[in-house]
Symmetry: D3
Subunit: 334 residues, 6 copies
Amino acid sequence: MDQIITFGEVLMRLSPEGNKKFIQANLLEFYFGGTEVNVGISISNFGGNVKHISCVPNDFLGDTAMAFLQKFGVSTSAIVRSNRPLGVYFLEVGAVMRPSSISYNRSHSSFSEIQPSMVDWEFAMAKAKWLHWTGITPGLTKGAYETLKVGLKLAKEKGIEVSADPTYRSGLWKYGENAKDVLTDLLSYSTIFIGGINEMNEVLGTNYSYSNEDFINASKKLMEKFPNIKKVFDKIRTSINASWHKIRARMWNGTEFRETNDFDITHIIDRIGTGDAFAAGLIYGLQKFDDYKSMEFASAACALKHTYEGDVNYATVDEVMGILNGNVSGVFKR
Amino acid sequence: MDQIITFGEVLMRLSPEGNKKFIQANLLEFYFGGTEVNVGISISNFGGNVKHISCVPNDFLGDTAMAFLQKFGVSTSAIVRSNRPLGVYFLEVGAVMRPSSISYNRSHSSFSEIQPSMVDWEFAMAKAKWLHWTGITPGLTKGAYETLKVGLKLAKEKGIEVSADPTYRSGLWKYGENAKDVLTDLLSYSTIFIGGINEMNEVLGTNYSYSNEDFINASKKLMEKFPNIKKVFDKIRTSINASWHKIRARMWNGTEFRETNDFDITHIIDRIGTGDAFAAGLIYGLQKFDDYKSMEFASAACALKHTYEGDVNYATVDEVMGILNGNVSGVFKR
Amino acid sequence: MDQIITFGEVLMRLSPEGNKKFIQANLLEFYFGGTEVNVGISISNFGGNVKHISCVPNDFLGDTAMAFLQKFGVSTSAIVRSNRPLGVYFLEVGAVMRPSSISYNRSHSSFSEIQPSMVDWEFAMAKAKWLHWTGITPGLTKGAYETLKVGLKLAKEKGIEVSADPTYRSGLWKYGENAKDVLTDLLSYSTIFIGGINEMNEVLGTNYSYSNEDFINASKKLMEKFPNIKKVFDKIRTSINASWHKIRARMWNGTEFRETNDFDITHIIDRIGTGDAFAAGLIYGLQKFDDYKSMEFASAACALKHTYEGDVNYATVDEVMGILNGNVSGVFKR
Amino acid sequence: MDQIITFGEVLMRLSPEGNKKFIQANLLEFYFGGTEVNVGISISNFGGNVKHISCVPNDFLGDTAMAFLQKFGVSTSAIVRSNRPLGVYFLEVGAVMRPSSISYNRSHSSFSEIQPSMVDWEFAMAKAKWLHWTGITPGLTKGAYETLKVGLKLAKEKGIEVSADPTYRSGLWKYGENAKDVLTDLLSYSTIFIGGINEMNEVLGTNYSYSNEDFINASKKLMEKFPNIKKVFDKIRTSINASWHKIRARMWNGTEFRETNDFDITHIIDRIGTGDAFAAGLIYGLQKFDDYKSMEFASAACALKHTYEGDVNYATVDEVMGILNGNVSGVFKR
Amino acid sequence: MDQIITFGEVLMRLSPEGNKKFIQANLLEFYFGGTEVNVGISISNFGGNVKHISCVPNDFLGDTAMAFLQKFGVSTSAIVRSNRPLGVYFLEVGAVMRPSSISYNRSHSSFSEIQPSMVDWEFAMAKAKWLHWTGITPGLTKGAYETLKVGLKLAKEKGIEVSADPTYRSGLWKYGENAKDVLTDLLSYSTIFIGGINEMNEVLGTNYSYSNEDFINASKKLMEKFPNIKKVFDKIRTSINASWHKIRARMWNGTEFRETNDFDITHIIDRIGTGDAFAAGLIYGLQKFDDYKSMEFASAACALKHTYEGDVNYATVDEVMGILNGNVSGVFKR
Amino acid sequence: MDQIITFGEVLMRLSPEGNKKFIQANLLEFYFGGTEVNVGISISNFGGNVKHISCVPNDFLGDTAMAFLQKFGVSTSAIVRSNRPLGVYFLEVGAVMRPSSISYNRSHSSFSEIQPSMVDWEFAMAKAKWLHWTGITPGLTKGAYETLKVGLKLAKEKGIEVSADPTYRSGLWKYGENAKDVLTDLLSYSTIFIGGINEMNEVLGTNYSYSNEDFINASKKLMEKFPNIKKVFDKIRTSINASWHKIRARMWNGTEFRETNDFDITHIIDRIGTGDAFAAGLIYGLQKFDDYKSMEFASAACALKHTYEGDVNYATVDEVMGILNGNVSGVFKR
């Protein structure tokens, strides 16, 4: 009973080098990611024992995607293969006042066409102590929603922790189900909520503001509606422009409100996956530290992620703790 | 009445540099191609006036695909846009005894989901003198087949030349129609057949051998079945290995059989699109030369294509004529 | 009568990747540019119908330069070819307190050796509604000056708008003519002045300061001397260092003085061509918007250009309007 | 009892792209390899269950080396870490008549300074069914020799297969022991000999020629001296030049002599690790096929390796079997 | 008597492009450096006549290292060759709050194993007017310490200037000698001290603070203990984060305390070698200017170095003087 | 009296990677070369003491060109600087039947505009024992011709060897002088002729065939006309295609005719500068070996050059001797 389980799409990311646009490029860098993959790899990089469940194609792209996860020590033994293509996204990285731009090609991917019958959850979760899910997966297709739900039910039966990052993304939810209904359904199996005012308003049908007071009230209301949820963690981002952000975090754990200081990220290298880095930091932290220190660990992990190319957070525990211990000026020792 | 029309999918090609596999790569080169696109661009590079008809996404990838065609002078005014993704293929380039390997992601692309109502053929073909099609397009989806058929009917009405390259590819034809029936239907609108024994056996239901004698007999039988077809051109490839091929061509134009000498391509750089280079050479040649010289021009163009990276043939008329005039030893002048 | 005409040199730009110096590099990125080319391509990227007039070599470099313009939809039908080389410039991109450094090789280029007899202006401007010129062209050679003048005369005859960006660059004007005299001659054919205090002092022989008051006075004096000029637009740049600029714009249109807010460009990617992006934004804007909104559009376009590598502004109208509508924090939607 | 164990140094390989020399390069490609690593990864790529035992540094280079093995599914659970640096080699890849050139920096590496006390062989070999070693390891240092010997003794006790590739390399054996004595000692624990006339002459002190007859006689003599050895496999390379080789293999298994046909490798991409690919093919093959087919499988695997960059053989079982089934002309299917 | 002599290790630096980590990279950029090499090359780039003394391997890496020095005009005639490997360091470049990370492989390098008998100091210093050393060299091995000491003694005999940059680095000093004793010994031969409070406290055994007052007191005390030392120069760095530093300098020359203004380095490209750029600026400056202007020159050189990739300062005298003359906003002229 | 002097243009070479055309490239590799530069660097790489005389621009490109020569140990002390641009050539590298293609931009370069007054030949040749010239230089401009002639006269006065490689290139000789007259003039100062039938026919006005007999007769006639010429060396190339050549050499030294065996260069990497490698091999060889061995050395050097990218031959004496000693199969030792 010591594995952390993540379930979601393995996406290939294709992006010109630096801040080039596709129209001026000949070469693309590629990485693999996907929100739940990012969480899984980051936890594995912290030393956690992670198994990722997904469906990838049975060709050289699927092999390459699997190898990417294995490289970081994530178990791929429960990943199934199909003859559908790999989900892909194309990214143009913005700068200053130019936003990044994304083109998805995932609507008929191996993962989008997953069905509950394809995953042996009993086998996959035999040693699980934690299951993490996000709002991307149920937003893809009915099959993805239903497959996830089987896993969540099993998690509840097993009494393990279930963290939910119910990110709402308007570009999804095309298959007929209503986001609010589905998220409400899935949150009923969850114990930890990673999200902010937007996500709480979405599932509560409320209209809370971004103030700390409203955050506490919204969290309380959320816990009323979903009594299994014991803790709410929120990450707040202030964008000066596409190259310069500030982030901080806050929490309500039923009894205590806390918030962190700002991290000032003056030269962003890659903004993708920074929310996933926060979630991974939390999941790892909550197994080692108290709630507040977990949130601080998650914030520092999130800040560090902005300095790595690709979706994945390469930070190790030592690197995150270095920042928590006060070395935020990037001085190195030799 | 002077434009050459090509109709087909614009595919993005993604490939690691050199002969690397995806599992060992970080960077991909990308080009655009697709069999009919390749034909169109090559004819434009020979100085022809070409318009390509297709459907691409209305995002930065679609813009980039359009820009690629425009760069080579191909008109994109009849290309329509949709909110479906661009077709993509991933290529690992083999060497010596290692075959190349391809992974397609095109089954729900913008072009695959094209419908006859989306193309204004009257407008697009207002100045057309030639229409070229291949067996890839009707092998994709019913919509692609039916859209093509509208164009072919119009071409027949206009009395313009229609060249057919009915390549049969077993990985396609998944949508319910039978390849033989569909190709038979479409060939009835065509005037020039670019293909060999395999393609003729496929549509005739025969079993001819690769001998010149059988080639002539098959061609005669084809012309009986499809009286509009006046000429058959065939390209024969001998593969020593993935890096070293020999090619030659042969023809039957109803009265005369001719064949070319071999080109010995000792160091292949890129084998993709070489058949399209042959077709483009023919289409261009038949407007300038007699049948035999057209075939020689097409063979030399095809041979040259093996020396360019990407799907597209960059050869100019001067470069092809240089080879026909005997400079096959790659000597350059300065 | 709907084409915008640009006339000037197509320059090849060669630059090491990032901020490397040539002495430490093995690889160069290349783009094409040139001040009037930059304006033309940017307008075409906004959806304008642009024809560029120039002279490039009749070899593979000339072909590649033409293909670059065609890629962005700019008509190259009036570009002539010669057997002189392409103009080239070599660029080392600075950072922080290190200035960029440029080495030109253009003094005997195809364009520098252009002569009035080489351009068929009547044909080229048959559908023109606007002609744009800059002070670079008449600063190159007598032939370039005289060729431009033929076009300007024709524009005046046709009564179309003529925008002038009379940038004075001390490294030019080596061929015997005096900059002030030549610019005075050419401004007499122009209707819109894109330039600031330096340029007005240069042609007026005055000594106005950078204050708004002096800007208005100088503009008035300019319009007295050149009664065809109806509007003056100026872009003001504050350089914190080579990596961090602020820009704003101001205008006098004979009746009204306006100025924009500052754009704070905290992480410059490429500073070349930003003035051309401003000019292109104005020319496009003045066909759609009032003077002030045109200037705002131009300022935002100029700011965005700092985030693209190369000479060319890749921004679309949607991207510029996104900024004008308040999204300056680089947030993206998915 | 189903794991294949490899033991040896993980080397970082650094090489300019293509055939460049260091003196003309700015960029290096890096891979990880080492003769036993290459064998282990290749077997894992064939689907085998492989554990590699080694010592790497406890810094980011060690992490990266471990990740490389994990990527291909090789278990790193028995790899120990030290504060000594990673072994490195620098490679200039030759062509035609220019030989490749290597510079090693491994004499004080983590692995070279390994000591028997650092490896828990009992734990590491708990599930082992095969142990593979080469002559490189005992040629490095006394510590490497003695550590290997502990493993070999344990293998003999467990009665598992032990394959030996006693490559003699004159650049090693600097630490005081005599190659012949050490190899004789270690061969006494081995059951399968992968090597040719040179290696047999080295350990037998004989002077056999390269003829098949002498190969059989030498093999017989070897089996007399080392009664545990049951089979001898030899790979013969004919070098036309650095870019064009032919290879074939031969065997004596105590009762039967067999040899394969030649593979003609006309365009070599990377010659490093091809012997290791042969060994890996054999080890995998001998668990599935008879002796002759194993040797054929190994030959085809070895031939394929010449088409992959890096030390590692990326070939899958399907790819090798494709060649054995007659597709040596690199034709691909789509 | 006009050569400046530097003595120290030539290190190869290997680093992924940009801010990538090794675990996500395939390609490494390489440069050569080493603290004394950096000083030598920078002085040569200022027009100084520099000879570097070292030991490099007699293989293609040694050749490439020598070629690197020669490229910048540094004499390599006194560099000896051995059959030991080149010292190497691997660098991951941090950003914002992520520190850079270094892995050294130098402890058994050609230079580390240097012995006094290997260098002919009389020959090498025949025309020397200045010798520069740093605390890195005596921290490596006893042989390096003793070889340096021979040179320092000779310098003292010749009465030439000796500049000392006694940087203390805790990762060194593993060979048995005490840093304080060795540095005390070597400083007795030195005339100019380039270092700050940490270095003075280290050799004096004191505990001065970073205040200007303490800097003056420490300098006085240093000059008491080492009467040959006539001047002390200190560079002060304030790290906002790994991407944004401020630097200034201060000096005590026995009679006068001076300090410079801050340079605000808002977008650091490469922080390595910036201290060496300061030392080089001083050594060059002190031959041309008074003490204060030398320090200003050194500060500007140091600031500029943050904008060049690699260890080496590419700045020329003109570029440094441009900054001293007030062009700190990176404006360029054309 | 021990320096070898080369005189000629330093050209920058710009080429897409591999066999790409400019129209499909974004990146260019750059090298420096020029026929006499190539000879000088190759001799320096063999250990010769070489000084190159030229004129390059006084900007960062000139600095980079100088650094390139210095890197290989060639003295640049006699190179003068001007404010004219560097000569540049653009190269598309062909393959198989596709010829390479070149675009020059050198007609107004620093070197083309050299004048006799700019070179201090007395100073530059103070220690000269050999002067090498080629037919490229006098084909550029009258200034280049006359400047060379001053040096040749001085060489004759000093009685040193003068090697002539009077390559005739039809793209040059645009400035009014007749090639035959100028070459005849310059050959009168020369002692060694490096060239074949074409060059001899050019200066003799004869029509000899390529047979060995005619080669001997032409050589005799040449020596009659130019009594200072004592030896003629010719290199013969057979082009199978652009990727596969054979070369051999022949000589007449007044008494003896000899020819070498063929080198079979099956996989050409770069054909540029191979003739210069032959000349450099000869010049180096004639100082160490007899005529025949010098020619063998030169042939092997020429063959090796085909395996290096760029204009320059990186081969060392050891590498060339390795081939002469029979290692032509590219086997390496470790």
